[in-house]
Symmetry: none
Subunit: 156 residues, 2 copies
Amino acid sequence: MAGISDNIERLIRDMLETNGGHVKIVRNELAGRINCVPSQINYVLTTRFTPEQGYFVESKRGGNGGIRITKCRTGTGSEFIRNLIEASGERLSESKAEMLMTALVKNGLISVGESRLVRSSFSDKALVRLDPMDRQVIRSNIFKQVLSCLLAEREI
Amino acid sequence: MAGISDNIERLIRDMLETNGGHVKIVRNELAGRINCVPSQINYVLTTRFTPEQGYFVESKRGGNGGIRITKCRTGTGSEFIRNLIEASGERLSESKAEMLMTALVKNGLISVGESRLVRSSFSDKALVRLDPMDRQVIRSNIFKQVLSCLLAEREI
DNA sequence: AATGATAAGTCAAAGATGGTCAAATGTGTT
DNA sequence: AACACATTTGACCATCTTTGACTTATCATT
């Protein structure tokens, strides 16, 4: 009954479970083991291991590369961050993003220094080469990525 | 687990460490010891021991020649950061940017946590909506913007 | 000078990973 | 049936690493 994706999901969850919430997989190797096409791993990762669901995924290509998956802790702070990720939507203006960063600082989830660096990373200045429309989309992506990284750091 | 390049890198770093930041290697001899082709040494040197990362590499061919690697004293932190800004150019790949961030951490100019956040801000994941070409341009802009922020903090 | 031995440098091809996207297929609802 | 949504697949792309054939520079000896 369970589809291939369900199997992949369960497998990864098990690995995370027995591995302290942190695993590295080699996409093609895993695909071979499960007997599916490699890109199906991506499908599972993008639909079932998202930041909103409390996971942080990184990868590196080329020889000796791989995909790292981290399960984030579910504490009150994490909850707050997850809400921000959901709240930030598809597009994000600089001022809205700044407010969200301020909220993070106020809740002690990020230091003032860190927040300054992150702010500058998605400032209009950094993104000046993009059309204003694109800018907001990219800013939202950056924001979410940084927040999921923050979640991952709060991992056990 | 680590690839050959990682081993070479670690080996050289260790040698530098135990040798006061200064070593001479003989390319073919080292390649033989590590069991790789000689040109792989060049690959490691050009990707992981660049001036931007605080290394100076000289070489001499012919009999009694060799390669000298020196870990540069980086002057003041502000100088180092300014150099990085200049060196980062118009476009920046993710892996190059990561190595520059590592150099910042090693020089105590940014904390590990901060660097993680900044890395994720310009990761391919965060910039995935952009064409690969644009991505590198924007990444360079973000990188410079963050570094300028860092510089500003130090000069207060 | 000329020559041969000894290093290092360059560059492009091959290999090893992962990523993206859209078409095909399946599943459930109206 | 028609539609919407989720899953499965495969062709093609991007990036990082490893390898090797060919080139260039320096030294030591004649």
